[in-house]
């Protein structure tokens, strides 16, 4: 039970623990990421092919966490919410221009070796009736241009907001609030619109003849869930340390838990909507997404899919209904970690099973070790960038005292 939340136990004045990992993640993440990108960009052979396919999973997972961070930053600034204040700096750091830069570098092997991963980039696609109709969109220049352009735009959004909060911290000028609201609200519209094209190219086109209009929303909600659960875990695990100890109160943890609850419901809602509609439609071109994922009765994609129903929806839903869980930082940290772990599995089910070479029930398994390596390297690199970025500003914005006042006024 977190003492910081329920009692007046002495406050630890040390920095949050996650800073301790900055050095090691920077070294391992930097070396691992650059080495992997170099190998994937210039390599060849079966190992290279396996690794590049596996890399897709880790890359898209951390891209979605970054998108989740940016979406929640935009939301925070649009509605001027107070519950996001303790996690805002993590979101800002997680979606800063350095992260987008890292993701742009990570895209290089996919641009250079598009045909290894994407069926539509292979010469035989030209003779395919459906793929030839999509060729104006599914081609290498559009792939590179739209995704890199999207990243540049997202970096601009994140950077503008980050600069404004930094200025606000220094000057205390309340006009910055309004500036961010005016900026973030239309940007949220642009962000979702552009992300639709980015994810269609990067993720949906892994199964090139398949399409689903809810796909972007589904992935984005999952990304927000991953970003929020990660940030909540980092914050609540350090609830007794400064500066979080100044603001942690049952009301705040309840709000954070409620937001996780909302995202859990939205994830379940979008997942079920897509499944019901495609299953009932029963068209070959759309059911292809579920066909091989549900074909192996015992182990494999089917088992992972079934476990995500429990882990991504049923268990978090039931747990987060309870106010007792949301009241205490330690319990909230536990459920946040649980949700994050199942996000890893869910994206694996969505992306891993979409890779063309794995479109059969038997294909699950042999590549798992490569998948794990790709995910871990991306995770280290992502955390290295985030941790280096997050310490450049106070962990809780100085300009907004609502949480401190709420805690001081609480009975």
């Amino acid at each position: 039970m977190s003492e910081a939340v329920i009692s007046n136990a002495p406050v630890d004045t040390e920095k949050p623990k996650f800073f301790n990992y900055k050095g090691i993640t920077t070294i391992l993440g930097g070396v691992g990421f650059l080495g992997l990108v170099a190998f994937l960009s210039v390599g060849s052979g079966d190992t290279h092919k396996f690794m590049l396919n596996s890399y897709m999973y880790g890359y898209i997972f951390w891209l979605m966490v970054t998108c989740g961070c940016l979406a929640l930053t935009l939301l925070h600034n649009s509605i001027k919410s107070s519950w996001t204040l303790p996690v805002l700096r993590i979101f800002e750091a997680g979606s800063g221009w350095m992260t987008w830069g890292m993701l742009a570098i990570g895209l290089v092997p996919l641009i250079l070796k598009t045909d290894v991963v994407y069926e539509w980039a292979r010469p035989e696609a030209a003779s395919d009736f459906i793929l030839s109709r999509k060729a104006a969109f599914l081609n290498k220049p559009v792939f590179a241009g739209v995704i890199l352009g999207g990243y540049a735009l997202f970096a601009f959004m994140a950077n503008t907001l980050r600069k404004s909060t930094n200025r606000h911290d220094k000057s205390g000028d309340a006009n910055e609030y309004q500036f961010r609201t005016n900026f973030a609200t239309p940007m949220m519209v642009i962000f979702v619109s552009v992300l639709t094209f980015v994810l269609t190219l990067l993720a949906m086109s892994l199964t090139p003849k398949w399409y689903s209009t809810i796909y972007t929303l589904w992935l984005l909600i999952g990304g927000c869930q991953a970003a929020l659960s990660m940030a909540i875990f980092l914050v609540t695990r350090n609830a007794a340390k400064q500066p979080y100890a100044n603001v942690m109160a049952p009301g705040l943890t309840k709000d954070l838990g409620n937001m996780m609850f909302v995202l859990t419901m939205l994830w379940g809602y979008t997942s079920v909507s897509q499944l019901i509609i495609l299953w009932n439609g029963n068209l070959p071109e759309t059911t292809v997404f579920y066909a091989h994922r549900g074909a192996d009765a015992m182990l494999g994609w089917n088992l992972i899919g079934a476990s995500t129903i429990l882990g991504c929806f049923v268990i978090p839903f039931v747990t987060l209904l309870s106010p007792r869980v949301k009241r205490y930082a330690d319990r909230l940290a536990l459920i946040a970690a649980f949700i994050f772990c199942f996000r890893i599995l869910d994206v694996y089910w969505i992306i891993g099973a979409s890779i063309p070479s794995r479109m059969s029930p038997q294909a699950f398994g042999p590549s798992s070790i490569f998948d794990a390596i790709g995910w871990i390297v991306m995770a280290l690199a992502w955390f290295a960038v985030m941790l280096n970025n997050v310490e450049k500003a106070p962990l809780i914005p100085l300009y907004d005292k609502r949480l401190e006042e709420a805690k001081n006024n609480a009975h």
Partner: protein, 466 residues
Amino acid sequence: MAKVQDRKLNDLLITGDQTYTSIDSSVDRLILNQKLHGKGWNILFLIGISLTGLLGVSIFWLLYQGIGIWGNNVPSAWGFDIINFVWWIGIGHAGTLISAILLLMRQQWRNSINRFAEAMTIFAVMCAGLYPILHTGRPWNAYWLFPYPNILAMWPQFRSPLMWDVAAVSTYFSVSAVFWFVGLIPDFATLRDKSTNKYGKVIFGTLAMGWRGSNQHWHRYEQMYLLLAGLSTPLVLSVHSIVSFDFAISIVPGWNVTVFPPYFVAGAVFAGFAMVMTWGLPLRKFYNLKHLITDRHIDWMCKITLATGLIVFYGYLLEIFYSWYSGNFYEFKLLMKTRFTGIYAPMYWLLIFCNGIAPQIFWVPKYRRHEPTIIVVCFLISVGMWLERFVIIPMSLTNNYLPSSDKPYYPSFWDVAMFTGTIGLFITLMMLFIRFLPVINIFEVKDLFYKMGGKKEIVEEVGANS
């Protein structure tokens, strides 16, 4: 009741020099002083009741002749009936959203608008419910839609979303009606106590169900209201999602669209808020309620309308992009040949204007407080949302996989008569509601007034939540 002039007031939610008594009388005078309702009320009621008469004639003729009097044909077996059903159900969404979801989110600005929004919900769902019941052809057998043991051994087809609709809409109506009634009980007691008329005392006394305002009563009331809010919240999402399944689970071009559930829910909230403002603005003007339904309320409703409108517009763009990206000939044909350039194209482009372009004016703050602009935009949204259903239903049904499906759909006189009739029924019920029930939740506004004036920290909380 003592004045609280010296207390700090957040004049954005309640304006002017108010007291508990003045808040009471602002609302209850509409019921206790019937002379307040002048010519305007009489004219609107007359229009409403006349159109309701037309509805009655339409229903009689329909029952006498059968549904052949409608413009429905093969392949367009669904026409005005389902368009209007979905349109009315959509309008019925804002009430429960305002009442339940905003309550759970502790958004106290809902207090001034929830009552008439809830009334709108119930009346709109009543209008909606008429269509599928009449479309069965034998409405006297409509109870067959419910699963019950019977000697015919006939069970509904549970795999059909039309059956899910029956459960969803009837549950939504029941819960909304109970929620509305429970919320009215403390106000009925106020009216019982203030009524000087014998009939008023008896009627409101009966409806108040023995409410004395004791601590125990309030405790139970709060618990029940919160439980009902929790129950209503998933219903708000589920009803229109299930309505969207009526279309989305089939393979008709333009229907098998996975984004339909959230897109329909957003559209429903969009239409619902537009209708709330369409009634709320004249209401506050003609009955001098601007101190309770303030510009801040209108501003926030405009923002929600804009946000949900953007989601709807995003849905239109997704439909366009993915009908091309799908590589499916029939999806592409529906888009390019029917929606963009076909015989119904003007309706499609008008839809884009009404739902996509017109609400963008709400980006500009001054227009969110300019009543004529808001009324015009809200009217356009109502038209646009009706057109959206027209675009989805007859346009897809008349452009199917077979050349023989290319038969246009035209509504008959009785389709139009029935639609205007339900509008009349809605107007009639709303006018009766305005005259005989409290249009604003009196005790919740007083509670907000107390919190705003009495406790500094809650004033800030209200401000922060805003």
